[in-house]
């Protein structure tokens, strides 16, 4: 099986033009590869650049130098240099992302938000909703909430909608930005099981988990981000 994702010599600095152009170095020399069927975890203290690395892999942050090579539909794509529509294609089919917070759309029902990544790939609406319902019930989201827009849900409920949406597809690479941050123990166990199933299905996972129990349970290895840190911002 080919390596699904290779990151080499990636560097990123923020330039704050509104504050006299001061530069905030984030990371430098980020290099690692993800294997299919493993869950690697980004480790390091807050502010070390873990989230920024995930965002660069997803094309949400730009990359100053270096390459992020992903196996996308039988060819290699460098996310760091790809055109926007190529990045959108990679997101649709190859790299999935579970963010910390759900960005809610005003009036969409929770069930449709979860089903959307499947319908966007051409899966029939009924089938996509079935699968969405299965995930939401595994994550113990009360069925009476499924038809409601999640804007008024609690943090934990929103996060479960977000997790279901992230796990519903069979993207070969899955990025997880603290998916368990506001979950109770029972639902953390569900997420641990979902991650184990993704590994079984040869998905390459890369995550950030502040919760030590979850990290222990899912991590095959830790990538220490402090080795990529440039001279830290303040300090």
């Amino acid at each position: 099986m080919p390596t699904p994702l290779v990151v080499s010599e990636v560097a990123k600095t923020f330039t704050m033009h509104l504050r006299d152009g001061i530069e905030l170095p984030v990371v430098d020399g980020v290099s690692f590869a993800l294997r299919a069927g493993e869950c690697a975890v980004l480790g390091g203290p807050s502010g070390a650049g873990k989230s920024s690395i995930l965002k660069m892999l997803y094309g949400n942050y730009s990359v100053d130098t270096g390459q992020i090579i992903v196996q996308h539909q039988g060819r290699l794509v460098d996310i760091a240099a790809a055109a926007p529509r190529t990045v959108l294609g990679v997101r649709r089919h190859t790299i999935g992302y579970v963010s910390q917070f759900l960005r809610t759309l005003p009036r969409l029902a929770a069930l449709d938000i979860v089903a959307e990544p499947l319908t966007a790939r051409g899966v029939a609406a009924a089938k996509a909703r079935d699968k969405a319902a299965g995930l939401l019930s595994r994550l113990n989201l009360p069925e009476k909430l499924w038809s409601l827009p999640p804007a008024t849900f609690s943090g934990g409920e929103q996060q479960r909608v977000n997790i279901a949406r992230g796990f519903i597809t069979d993207h070969p690479v899955l990025l997880l930005d603290e998916p368990t941050a506001s979950l109770d123990a029972k639902n953390r166990e569900v997420v641990i099981a979902l991650i184990a199933e993704k590994k079984q299905a040869d998905v390459a996972l890369l995550g950030i988990f502040h919760d030590a129990d979850v990290r222990e349970a899912v991590a095959d290895r830790i990538i220490d981000v402090t080795q990529f840190a440039m001279n830290r911002r303040v300090s």
Binding site: K55, N60, P84, L88, G89, R92, R107, L108
Partner: protein, 261 residues
């Protein structure tokens, strides 16, 4: 709809428009692909509406080229179409949603006729089928069937805007231009309209170019965005990249100026 086709729908190169010595927009180049929604953002006077009007052939640019892939697959220079070809394009394959619905509607004919008129322009003649299609479209934009015979004068601003959208989409255009589609509407009405537009664009696989000064509109509707200032594009990229990691000083100012609620 996947934007993974091998030909763009629209190719713009070196487009400039001057009003005498004053710059409207200058040296604009980009491609739009099928199924893509592009937002053009910037302040009043940044040139975004001038650019939109040039693209929609409502203004003739001072220099530059715009070619469009016609339904037969041929790329054509839109400024060299015959008047008949251009009108056919405007009535069928393109839509234009104005900020003020009164500019895009006929205010003194019924809602149903406003939608039906575009169908007649493409040759539909059967009254029953026109009325049926019009009523169906009013439903899709959440206007109740019992309002089909009312004039838009009797509609609220939000309803008028939804009617204008139905009028534009009834011929299944492939490209829709929108000029501040949610401008001038109450916030709750805006949210409903945005949600509706987003659903329609996705369901129909439309390409759209949306001019807005509202970054939240760009975030919700668009895949890509261009930031304009003083007639030029100063930043261009994936919408969430531009908003979450803005590079140009002006884009950083725009993004940091959003009020957090």
């Amino acid at each position: 709809m996947t934007p993974d086709h091998d030909e763009p729908l629209l190719r713009v190169s070196g487009l400039s428009k001057f009003y005498g010595a004053r710059v409207g927009c200058e040296d604009i180049s980009f491609e739009l692909w099928p199924g893509e929604v592009l937002a053009i953002v910037g302040e009043s006077g940044s040139g975004k509406t001038t650019l939109l009007n040039c693209l929609a052939t409502r203004l003739i640019p001072s220099s530059g080229n715009v070619s469009y892939r016609m339904r037969d697959g041929e790329m054509r220079d839109i400024y060299r179409l015959s008047e008949a070809e251009r009108r056919f394009l405007m009535r069928t394959d393109w839509g234009f949603v104005h900020q003020n619905p009164a500019d895009g509607l006929r205010m003194t004919v019924s809602a149903g006729a406003n939608v039906g008129e575009r169908l007649m322009a493409v040759g539909e003649r059967n009254y029953g089928s026109i009325r049926g299609t019009a009523t169906d479209w009013l439903g899709r934009v959440e206007i109740a069937a019992d309002r089909v015979d009312d004039e838009p004068r009797a509609f609220s601003g939000g309803m008028r805007q939804r009617l204008q959208i139905a009028r534009n989409l009834v011929t299944h255009p492939r490209l829709v231009f929108m000029d501040e589609p949610t401008g001038g509407l109450d916030v709750s009405v805006q949210a409903r309209l945005l949600d509706l537009l987003r659903g329609l664009v996705a369901d129909l696989g439309l390409s759209a170019i949306v001019v807005t000064h509202d970054l939240a509109v760009a975030r919700l509707l668009s895949h890509r965005m261009m930031v304009m200032k003083d007639g030029r594009v100063i930043e261009h990229g994936l919408t969430d990249r531009v908003l979450d990691d803005p590079h140009a000083p002006y884009t950083q100012l725009l993004v940091s100026s959003i009020l957090q609620v």
